[in-house]
């Protein structure tokens, strides 16, 4: 195993309250030390990170790799390349693959594909119900034994509240985290956009905030009742932030994340009928975005995820309501987080924590920090580098992003996964 020295970089490690220029020493796949001087460390590889930021590798709570089952949209190979180029060293794969992650066999298949040293760590999320159909519990214990880190029904609805209650009781019996996408299907119906001014004007079927906040409130009540550890995935609106804040204040052990695009885009950004803005939950109002940003600042929202959903061209080629929702968002994750810090909405250390230590804590992983002795997952990025989102700079199979052709600031230059340099930015920009 090689020895890597990263020197002259600004090392930011929120868990260890570290923010200083120094050297990061990596050996045997682990963080050896953070020091002001390399001393007599005999590195095989030395990275000069002057002017750059060195932080823990990102832990992304929701990344669709599209394999197995939807390889026309992306593969484990293509999307893990995208992840590493984005500084993501650990990621959670939601269970809505094809076949669904509801048996150990599927978990094993993904492991077989992914267990290479230069892949990010992939954590499968097991299906909460069989085939995600919402009615019968999955074999959660077997899924956990096979390596599932949590259970979730992804965006598929549950049959009724009793199923959710039983699922919580059963999941918590096995110490499994339940990840929950709050959506009351009867209220969201066939909606494809936020039920606001824009949907009203364009005649698009709307999804009210209440579709999310009602489901969220029910979930929190049942979490209280059952004692299940619940994580709310990808919240999008003001009422969800308020309800979460109350629950946390009351002492409920609940966490939540937000997809990065919800912190930037609103319904008003939707270019008429541009399917790249079609995403679930939908882009909401400016007020909702304000609450999400504040929720992130005050800790109501714990983590930021990419909610990466690459699509093939055909999936996005059609009239807006008929296209598939989702944004290929891994590679814009860092620049968009940095944009939040430039707007002074969040500190740099907070932004990095919400991408690293916070999601790691949610999952109970010893990742997301530069603590000596821990696995060396490291991201080095240039906060000033500008780059254009084009085919040449892009790794994901999906080019479905509203940021296509735009120039963004902040770029990952190196990614170290388990002590191995697995990504290095090569192009001149």
């Amino acid at each position: 195993m090689s020895k890597i020295l990263i020197k002259n970089g600004r090392i930011i490690d929120p868990v260890n309250q570290l923010d200083e220029i120094g050297c990061l020493l990596i050996a045997d796949g682990k963080i050896m030390a953070v020091d002001s001087q390399p001393g007599d460390f005999a590195a095989d590889t030395t990275i000069d990170a002057a002017g750059q930021i060195v932080c823990p590798g990102f832990v992304d709570l929701s990344v669709r790799l599209r394999e197995p089952g939807h390889t026309q949209k992306g593969t484990i190979l293509s999307e893990t390349r995208a992840a590493l180029s984005a500084g993501v060293t650990s990621l959670c794969l939601p269970p809505d693959t094809q076949p669904v992650i509801d048996t150990p066999t599927v978990v094993e298949f993904i492991k077989d594909r992914a267990e290479r040293a230069d892949y990010p760590q992939i954590y499968s999320i097991g299906a909460l119900t069989q085939r995600l159909a919402g009615n019968e519990l999955s074999a959660m214990f077997a899924l956990k034994q096979a390596g599932c880190i949590a259970v979730s029904n992804a965006s598929a609805p549950l049959g009724n509240l009793l199923i959710l209650r039983r699922a919580m009781e059963y999941a918590s019996s096995h110490g499994l985290l339940l990840m929950f996408r709050a959506n009351e299907a009867a209220l969201s119906g066939k909606g494809c956009a936020h039920e606001g001014a824009v949907a009203s004007r364009y005649g698009l079927p709307g999804i009210p905030e209440a579709a999310e906040s009602i489901a969220l409130a029910q979930c929190l009540e049942l979490a209280e009742l059952t004692g299940c550890r619940v994580h709310i995935s990808q919240i999008s609106c003001k009422q969800s932030v308020i309800k979460l804040q109350q629950a946390k204040k009351y002492g409920l052990n609940v966490t939540a994340d937000v997809a990065i695009h919800q912190l930037h885009l609103t319904e008003n950004d939707i270019t008429p009928f541009d399917s790249n803005y079609h995403v679930m939950p939908p882009l909401r109002s400016a007020i909702d975005r304000q609450y999400l940003r504040e929720g992130l600042c005050n800790g109501t929202i714990d983590a930021i995820c990419s909610d990466h959903q690459p699509h093939d061209l055909d999936a996005k080629l059609g009239a807006f309501p008929e296209t598939a929702p989702g944004i290929a968002s891994l590679e814009t994750l860092l620049p968009l987080c940095l944009e939040l810090t430039r707007q002074h909405r969040i500190s740099l250390s907070q932004a990095i924590a919400s991408l690293t230590s916070k999601p790691a804590q949610i999952l109970g992983l010893a990742a997301g920090s530069l603590t000596p002795g821990h696995k060396a997952d490291v991201c080095i990025f240039d906060p000033q580098a500008t780059w254009q989102v084009t085919q040449d700079s892009w790794h994901s199979s999906g080019s479905n992003t509203p940021y296509w052709q735009q120039t963004l600031t902040g770029r990952v230059t190196h990614t170290v996964q388990a002590g191995k340099l697995v990504y290095r930015l090569t192009d001149a920009s």
């Binding site: 039920e195 606001g196 001014a197 949907a199 009203s200 004007r201 364009y202 005649g203 698009l204 079927p205 709307g206 009210p208 270019t271 008429p272 009928f273 541009d274 055909d314 080629l317 059609g318 009239a319 807006f320 309501p321 008929e322």
Partner: protein
């Protein structure tokens, strides 16, 4: 993608997809041009050679005999060659994608698509992906827009009221599902009427209807007070099945236009309806057939207005005169 996809760089009409983004001078030009065509239907020879040699394809992914017929007539009177395709029962049901259908027709060197589709945004999508020389006219897309219908309604209003300034207009009924209402609201506001009221129960109003520049009201008697124009909308029967309304009779009781309710409006108020009408559901027969009804004039005006829009769109692209 430009927000003004339907205009050329010179600000001329290229496509006609929505009223949004079109200003008063352009809308007025459409109305003036339509007026020059309106007298034609009384002539012995009903044709002008403006679009001779042009090929127009009516692409109806959703059936509508009435709208399709007026588009066919309009194109024929402009001397264009017209092909009407009822896609609802042909290509796409064989699994061909919307875009493949479009590209196949493009290969036959057409100049204009007139599109009706059940999904909001379909006409925009086709305009964005079709060959650059082809104009797209939106003949109704989902719940989004039906701009030619709105313009023929504006034409009819102008015939009777001469000008838009100062007018109070009430649109009554299922606004939520109505592409016609959305286009009418945009057109009325762009042309500068004094007030647009929308009258319906909350179940049939878009959530943020106020942001569209209208006054929402739930009481018909108060809503019709002193208005110059009443536009009734068609109520689809299936609204009863998904808890939008209890029954047709209750709807008629609250929001149906009767002679008694009509008395609330100005004595010279006109009554409009985009058709086809449901007698006894949204409008009483005595009003639909009464002296203040201009419903059949709307139908006649449809041809002239569509002639105007088609000829302007094809000249905007530097084709015909």
């Amino acid at each position: 993608m430009s927000r003004h996809i339907q205009l050329t760089e010179q600000g001329r009409l290229k496509h006609f997809l929505t009223i949004e983004g079109l200003d008063k001078p352009l809308l007025t030009e459409i109305l003036d041009t339509a007026e020059s065509f309106a007298g034609m239907s009384e002539h012995q020879v009903k044709k002008v050679p403006l679009l001779r040699g042009k090929t127009i394809v009516n692409l109806f992914f959703e059936n509508s005999t009435r709208t399709r017929t007026t588009f066919e007539l309009a194109a024929t009177r402009l001397s264009a060659d017209v092909l009407s395709m009822d896609i609802a029962t042909s290509a796409t049901s064989k699994g061909e994608s919307l875009l493949d259908t479009i590209h196949n027709l493009e290969a036959m060197h057409v100049d204009m698509f007139v599109v009706r589709h059940a999904v909001s945004g379909a006409a925009h999508f086709i305009a964005q992906h079709t060959a650059p020389h082809i104009s797209v006219i939106n003949a109704g897309d989902g719940q989004h827009a039906h701009p030619t219908q709105a313009m023929l309604d504006m034409f009819t209003i102008r015939q009777h009221k001469k000008q838009f300034a100062g007018l109070k207009v009430a649109i009554v009924g299922d606004i939520l599902h109505s592409r016609v209402a959305r286009s009418q609201i945009l057109a009325l506001n762009a042309l500068g009427v004094a007030e647009v009221r929308v009258i319906a129960p909350k179940t049939l109003l878009p959530a943020h209807v106020k942001s569209m520049g209208v006054t929402p009201l739930h009481d018909m008697d108060a809503g019709l007070e002193d208005v110059d124009v009443i536009i009734m909308l068609r109520l689809q029967k299936e609204r009863m099945n998904s808890a939008f309304l209890p029954s047709e009779s209750e709807f008629f009781r609250c929001f149906g236009l009767t002679e008694a309710k009509l008395k609330r409006a100005k004595p010279d108020a006109i009554v409009m309806h985009p058709g086809p009408i449901n007698r006894g559901v949204e409008i009483a027969s005595s009003v639909a057939d009464g002296p203040q009804s201009v419903i059949l004039q709307q139908v006649s005006n449809g041809v002239a207005v569509r002639m105007a829009i088609m000829s302007m769109a094809l000249s905007g692209q530097g084709g015909a005169a």
